[in-house]
Structure formats: C-alpha cells, structure tokens
Symmetry: C2
Subunit: 358 residues, 2 copies
DNA sequence: CTGTTAGCGCATTCAC
DNA sequence: GTGAATGCGCTAACAG
C-alpha cells in the first residue's frame, strides 16, 4: 500500500471477486449477503485499506449526516459546554458537527448559514447574534433548524433554552430574601433573549415584593468586559448605590469586579454579587461566587435531539415538543450576604438550592 | 418559491437560456462569459435561490474545502481559544471546520480520524490524547495532518506548539529569582508533550541554579482536578513543604487551590503559586494569578496555515518550516512573592514581562 | 441471493 | 465564446 492510493468499491469488488452491488450491500447491510462472500469482501476492504467515500454517498442519498452549529463566540465559556453536549449527542447518532463562529456579527452569521446550506448539511443549530435575521431565509427554505440559548421571538418551533425568566427571578428572589432592597442589574444586551428574559424575571421578583426598580440601577449597554467596568463605576458613584448587583454574563462580571476593586468595595460585606452561568472557576474566586446555573451540556444534547426529530419528521408532521425549556439552578456561595447593617439573617437563609420549580 | 425546492444548474441554465457549462463558468469564473449572458445567469440564480451543491462539486473535484479538527476536550478552556484561531484562519481561506472531541480517549480519537478520512476532509489538525497512535495510520496514508499543542515525539514534520520547555524554564526562573529554593511542580501527565516539556524546562532552571529537585515535590498522576487536590494535600503534609508550586494546567490549579484552602495556607505569603495558560479569569482571582501564557489564537492560526501548505504542496516538496514553535510569555501578578522570611525582594524584582527570548 | 444499470449535481474536456 | 458529452463513487431499483 503505497500511501494515499484511491480505492473504490470497484477495486474491492474486483479483489473479492464479487460485484459492486455486493460490496455496497455488506457496507450498508442493506441486503442479505452469504457469509462466505461477506468475509471475502471484508478481507478485501481491509487489504486495500478501503474506506467508503462519504461524499459520493451523500450525493447519492441526499443526506450528509452532518449538522452545522453556529455560535456567536466559542471563547465565551458558555458555548464550549453547549457544543460538547451537541457533539456527544451527534456522535452517538452518527452525525458530525461543522462548527461556525459568527463572532457576534450578523453578516458573518449570514455567510456561515449560506455556506452550510451549500454544503448540504442536514440541519443547523443556531445561537444567533444580535440583529440577526439571516435565519428566516433558512426557515423559508424549510431548512431544519433549532435555536439554542439565544432564541428569536418569532420562532414558531424548534427552540431550546434555559428558562431565563425563571433564572432571573431566582437570582433576584435570593437577594430579596437576604434583605436587599436596592438591587441593581447589569443586563447585557436587550436584543438577546437570555438577557432580556433575565431582566423580566428580575422585574417580576421585584414587583412581587413591592420593591422599586430604579432605572439608574439597570444597565443594558452590551456584553463585553468594558461594559461591566463602566456600569460598575456608574453604580458606585450613585448617591445611593445598590447593596446587591446581579450580572447577567461572566464578562460583565469581570468588568464589575474590576470596578469594585478600584473602589476597594468588599464583596459581600458592602455589596452582594450574583452572576449567571456557573463556571468551574466561580467557586475558586474569593469570595466564591453565587450564581444561577444552566445545564449547558443538556442544552446541547436536547437541541441536537430536537433537531434530529425535525430532520426526520414526515412532511407536515407536528413536533411532540416545539419548545424545550430547561430549569435554572441557584447555587449559593459566599458572594451574597445580607446587606450592610442588616439584622440577623435567619429569615434570609434559603431553604433549597434549586428554585427552578417555583 | 415554495420552500426547499431543489434547484440544480440545469434549472438555472434553462431559465437563463444558456447551457449548463455556461452556468458553471460564471460560478467558478473559470472561463470568459459575455457580460450579457453573465447577468442573465446571475439573475436566474437569484430568482431560483440557487446555491451550488458543494457535495457534488467535491465529488467532482476531489476537494471538500473542509478540515477536521480533533481536540481532546473542548471544555478545557485552552482549546476554544485555539479553535477560534483555527476557525478564523480557515474561514478566511474558504475552509470549514469539522470539530471532533475525543474526550481524552484514544479509541474515540481513532474513530474520529477514521470518520474524517471517510468524509474526505482535505486535512486534519490534531491535538492528540495520551496513548494515541491512531495518527500514524493517517500519516501512512500520506494524509495531510498537523499536530497542535500536543505533539508526538515521532512527528517528522507538521507540528505547531508553544515552546513549553522555555515556558517551564521561564516559570521556574521567576520563582528562583524571587528567592525560592524549595519548589514543587504539579506536572500533569508525562505522556503529553506540553507537560513533559514544561517539566524539562523546570529541571533545566533548577539545575542551572544548583537547586535540588526533590522527587516528592513532583507529581505526574494526571490532569484532572482530583489529581490537583491529592497532590496539593501531599505537598502540604511534607515535613519540609515547598515555598512555591508550579502547576502545569488550570484544572490541577483548581485542585491545588482547594487543598491550600482546606489547610488555610495563604497565597503568596506562605506559598507562591504559578500556573500555565493565562485565562481571563486568572487576573480576577485573589490573589491574581501569575502565569506563563501561550498565544492560543496564534497557535490555531499557525497550525491552519501549516496544514494549508501541506495540503497544497506538490508531491515530494519540502516544507519551508516543518515545526512551528511559539514563544511563551510570563505574566507576573500577585500570586508569586518571595518566600516567607526572605529578606528584601529587591533582587527578585523581575526586569521584563517576557522571558520568551531568553 | 447476486450482478447490471442508471443517475445524484457538477466540472471539464472537447467540438462547434 | 459556447454547448453537448463524460464520469467522479456510490446507492437503489431491477433483472437474472
């Protein structure tokens, strides 16, 4: 075998002394082949180091067994975990993953979607970026697609996300139960459903407790570190700064921590901090970080499963579950505490770790 | 346009009133087509929402414009940054990325490699896991392949990695210059080239300074958090515990921090800690973490570029650069300090941030 | 059970 | 410049 010689089914058939169709049959176990011939074919395949050409097979069958995954930023620690879940589920089902990073850019996203379409992937998983509209072209083509995490309001079906309203609610409840009344939130970007939803949950919790929401306590300028720094500084300069801050994203969190550090503000003595998405390092911060966690791996798995259903459904068939919504889980650590000067925190002791079911 | 209707070049040709070959020519700008006909073809393509079938094209041309990327663990924060570099470089060159996660499992890696081969990707980027041998099958097939980060000793060409010997040396030098003499290292896994190389650099620096290396100061049991916890506990239980610890991996670091925390050992007053690979959160730890950083994005870009060369070289042609080695950069923060009881640290003040060139 | 045959959609000779 | 014909490697429908 000298190197990368191309061998086709013809070669295998010839060497095994059978027809091409027989080779195809043993590869796909699509028809019954006598075990004697089967052995001969397998021996020939091994001898020639033959591997079926998936490209040719795809052209013939019209399926590639590849899905496209378009995410806004793989260096955002949230997505690798989702991708892992997708990849695992896909692999178990015989699919490969074409990974595309849109860099939070709508034009790039459009290009990727178009490229994936041309490559004839069987379906697409999309976490869309702000101002994205590329997907409706795909939807109009009846292209199998599922939205993950970042879900457009217009999606009639095929969405998988954490219940972010619940997540925002759970985080805010925790702070309220600790006795906080002046609670701020670094929202992130209102054009992105997770952020928008978390704010909604926050509002809901505040209203339920008849707590005022000061507009100057809300910041929705973006999801980068820089936004966190600026928003943090602004909050600390307020005449009546908040006693607790909820941050809807880890990058914003880093910015906030930096701003807090500049002013030598102590967590949690002077201000409590709670963040979304639980990363492994959160528990190694000091103080360790209270967060509202998502099951990122499950998010990935479920989104593949839903896509799989869509890819394989019969024409016009309805989905058993059009929208998958996963529970969020509050993880209490030491970055949240009763507000300064607050009396005993007995009533504030939370009863359960998970508020998802409330 | 009712949905996902299949349109081929035939349809476009018919609508434009030209032949199939003409359509192909305008798509590939492979031949001169009169501008009048060109416009007609383009209009027809737009009207039919036609997108060339890359599968068919690949079958015909023998190239897929897809590369495979096999990494051991996408949830290891190191790899997403590498993948980002790869993806950017690939996209700029018109390639897509098929992402495979081997879960640090040699058998899984083998399956992925085999699958990628069948899918006729044009080349593969591989960060191999321990005990991996699957790649030599690919190499024997003369399959274009480049090793990234984790490089087998046997690779005759096509490797891209950080100079980890230098990295280990730089980290150890920093500790030595601070005045440390009892220095430990959580090595990770000796079957993985980055870890092995960092240990070598560590040894080199110690020997240069005539400092002894106590075998009980070295731990090479694995790269998981658990290994870090156990190794950390062992070190602290020693009669003469180290005054500085070098950790070759972020997961080991988390484990070590946990062990230190259990014993209420203060960083850097009682023990200095230095880690490899600089992640965004490292500077937000308290104390902020001194690390030896790699240029992960560049690692990705360069590995794609090298693969690109290999994929496109003429038969037997030699590579301009067979092995790419990138410099590491020491980033000094507050987790490293002179050892307890050490006199003024004037001599210990490091002169430059980057020791890469030393 | 096995072999023959006709395309899948496209790029690419070759005649015109 | 343009168009008709051939085949990339495979599957599936059919004939033996």
């Amino acid at each position: 075998m000298e190197g990368r010689t191309k061998h086709t089914m013809r070669d295998v058939a010839r060497l095994a002394g059978v027809s091409i169709a027989t080779v195809s049959a043993v590869i796909n176990s699509s028809a019954n082949v006598s075990s004697e011939r089967k052995v001969r074919v397998e021996a020939a395949m091994a001898a020639l180091d033959y591997h079926p050409d998936e490209v040719a097979r795809s052209l013939k069958t019209g399926r590639t067994n590849v899905i496209g995954v378009v995410i806004p930023d793989i260096t955002n620690a949230f997505y690798p975990e989702v991708v892992r879940g997708i990849e695992e589920a896909a692999r178990e089902t015989g699919y490969s993953v074409l990974l595309c990073d849109s860099s939070e850019d709508a034009a790039e996203e459009r290009n990727h979607l178009s490229s994936l379409f041309s490559r004839r992937v069987d379906g697409v998983l999309l976490a869309c970026c702000a101002n994205s509209t590329a997907y409706d072209t795909m939807l109009r083509r009846r292209f199998p697609m599922v939205f993950v995490d970042r879900v457009p309001a217009s999606a009639a079906e095929g969405t998988v996300s954490t219940d972010n309203i619940q997540a925002g609610y759970a985080g805010a409840r925790h702070l309220i139960e600790l006795g906080h009344k002046r609670i701020a939130m670094l929202v992130g970007h209102l054009g992105l459903s997770p952020h928008r939803d978390r704010l909604e949950g926050f509002r809901k919790a505040m209203q339920e407790s008849h707590l005022p929401i000061h507009e100057e306590y809300l910041s929705c300028n973006g999801i980068a570190i820089e936004n966190g720094i600026l928003a943090g500084r602004d909050l600390l300069n307020l005449a009546a700064p908040p006693t607790a801050i909820m941050v809807s994203n880890s990058k914003l969190l880093f910015g906030l921590i930096q701003a807090l550090d500049e002013k030598k503000v102590n967590i949690p003595d002077q201000v409590s901090v709670i963040s979304f998405d639980d990363y492994i390092w959160n528990r190694y911060f000091s103080p360790s970080l209270t967060t509202v966690a998502q099951d990122t791996n499950e998010l990935g798995r479920r989104s593949f499963q839903l896509l799989f259903e869509i890819m394989n459904r019969r024409d016009g068939e309805e989905l058993a579950e059009k929208h998958v919504r996963l529970p969020a889980e509050l993880r209490i650590r030491t970055s949240t505490a009763p507000p300064p000067g607050h009396a005993a925190s007995l009533t504030a002791k939370p009863a359960a770790m998970s508020l998802a079911a409330s």
